[in-house]
Amino acid sequence: MPQQIEFRCQIVKRQQPNASFVILTFASPEIASLAMPGQFVNISADKFLRRPIGIMSVDREQGLFSVGIRIQGEGTLNLSVLQPGHYVSLLGPLGHGFKLDNYDRVITVGGGTGVFPLFFVQQYCQEHGIEGIAVCGYRSAAESILTEEFTKTACAVSFASDAGDMTIAGHAGHALAGVIADLIEKKADLSRTLIAACGPKIMMRTAAEQAAAAGISCQVSLEERMACGVGVCLVCVCKTKGSDGEIENSRCCADGPVFDAEAVVW
């Protein structure tokens, strides 16, 4: 049976936490039931190419899913002004998300728009009895986003801001260092702990290094410019190390966007 890939979904809710971000909730029982944390949708934004946007949360019962969007250029601007009632064509759910099922504890490390898909990770952890710890880095308290939601959903949170006006002063790496140190101090078993990172490349790389240093597994969600989002056009490749250590091209859309940090060539 062929799988439906394109959906015309109605926007059922639009929230705008601040001038730079909107959260859109779509009705789509199919995507809501199939989506896994770390997957994304490729949305028509009244431009020639679709725009890849991570899935932020699902309501499987009501058949809804949400995305968080930062207004960046024309495409995201077009999306940001859409009102409830409007239908949008989107492809999804796409890509390979985070592999969470072998872990007892997941530390999400997010910055920028990376916090959106990671919220879905926390939601999943909560539902599946995995200890979720949320580390988020923001520019400032004023520009922070989803802090309440993370606080409600995760077992523990640690918020950092460059401006120094949140719990931790500095970037997400500083907050992550604190969380790791805490766990080590508590002599927590880190063998079944995962660091799931999504955000600026430098942040993910730092998180991956911190994870490696502490012997913690780490998965990161990469971003590349995409066209198809389904793996046929090869425009979205990133360099990865194959099992034999050789450098290969992986498609960010179809082989990722989530990769084992160890496989990534930074």
Partner: protein, 303 residues
């Protein structure tokens, strides 16, 4: 009942819609979304003698009515293709075309020799990839090279050989005639138009490769003109492409002279594009009482 079947020389397709090279992989991703036996054929991602990693990213730039790509022929190499991809492709139940691109003159014939031993239905010579620096670009704009490469391939295989033409030339019909002289069984056109998109904030080309190949609806008027021009100058079949997004676009190419069409960039925006086009084309033919879709080929009434 509409008959959507078309012939490209000896080769029969159940309908005129072929997925264009580089926009459909080897079909593995798309077969999840619809039954690939619904479409006329698939042209493989461009193949080279050796596996290629292609160019650095960004490899895509958006523009008003299309996109530019600079993939640079990333592919697993002809041998891997023949062993691991072709058998599966042949199981789809549509015609399979191997699209090949050589770095050197001899490579085309070398690849064709390997393909000749397989069940692939046709070989498409990509003489015009704009994304490989020391590459095939030069072949595609030199009539004598086109003729020579085509001849060299025809010598080593009995498979139908299609020559894919670049639009980045002064006279595309001169190139088409050269392909015909070289023994080509068909010509396919257009490949991408060479273009550039600049980010005015960074003052850099968006593509890491600086320039890239422009495709999508924005190239359609040029492509239709070239297909008609070539149709009027050669005796071999013409396969048309460039910006086809829907059945009306496909019909425009057929009327201009194409016996079949290829659909490229549309697949990247609507994964089921080829399938959708076949369905709408049938509907259109029914409504217009066209019994044989092939009767449209070249029916343009020039003023």
């Amino acid at each position: 009942m509409v008959n959507l079947g078309v012939s490209i020389g000896e080769l029969k397709l159940k309908n005129p819609v072929i997925a264009a090279s580089g926009t459909f992989g080897f079909g593995r991703e798309m077969e999840k979304y619809y039954d690939l036996s619904n479409i006329g054929g698939i042209s493989s991602k461009g193949l080279t003698i050796k596996p290629r990693l292609g160019n650095d990213v960004p490899r895509v730039a958006e523009c008003d009515a299309g996109m530019l790509n600079s993939v640079g022929l990333q592919n697993p190499g002809i041998e891997y293709f023949i062993e691991h991809e072709l058998p599966h492709m042949l199981s789809y139940g549509c015609v399979v075309i191997a699209n090949i691109a050589g770095h050197q003159f001899e490579e085309y014939a070398d690849m064709a020799k390997l393909l000749d031993k397989t069940d692939v239905d046709a070989i498409e010579l990509n003489l015009s990839c704009p994304n490989v620096s020391s590459g095939c670009m030069a072949f595609g704009s030199d009539a004598s090279m086109i003729r020579a490469v085509t001849e060299s391939v025809k010598t080593v295989t009995n498979k139908p050989v299609w020559v894919k033409l670049t639009p980045n030339v002064t006279s595309v019909s001169e190139m088409a005639l050269a392909a015909q002289d070289g023994g080509a069984d068909a010509v396919s056109l257009i490949n991408t138009l060479l273009g550039m998109v600049i980010d005015i904030e960074t003052r850099r080309p968006v593509l890491k490769n600086n320039a890239g190949g422009y495709s999508g609806p924005g190239v359609k008027p040029v492509a239709v003109r070239m297909v008609n021009e070539v149709f009027n100058s050669v005796d071999i079949p013409v396969i048309g492409m460039g910006g086809i997004m829907n059945a009306a676009d496909a019909l425009e190419f057929m009327i201009a002279g194409a016996c079949a069409v290829q659909v490229g960039t549309a697949n990247l925006v609507i994964p089921t594009a080829c399938n959708d086009i076949v369905i709408s084309m049938e509907e259109w033919a029914q409504n217009h009482e066209v019994e044989e879709i092939s009767s449209l080929t070249g029916c343009l009434r020039r003023w």
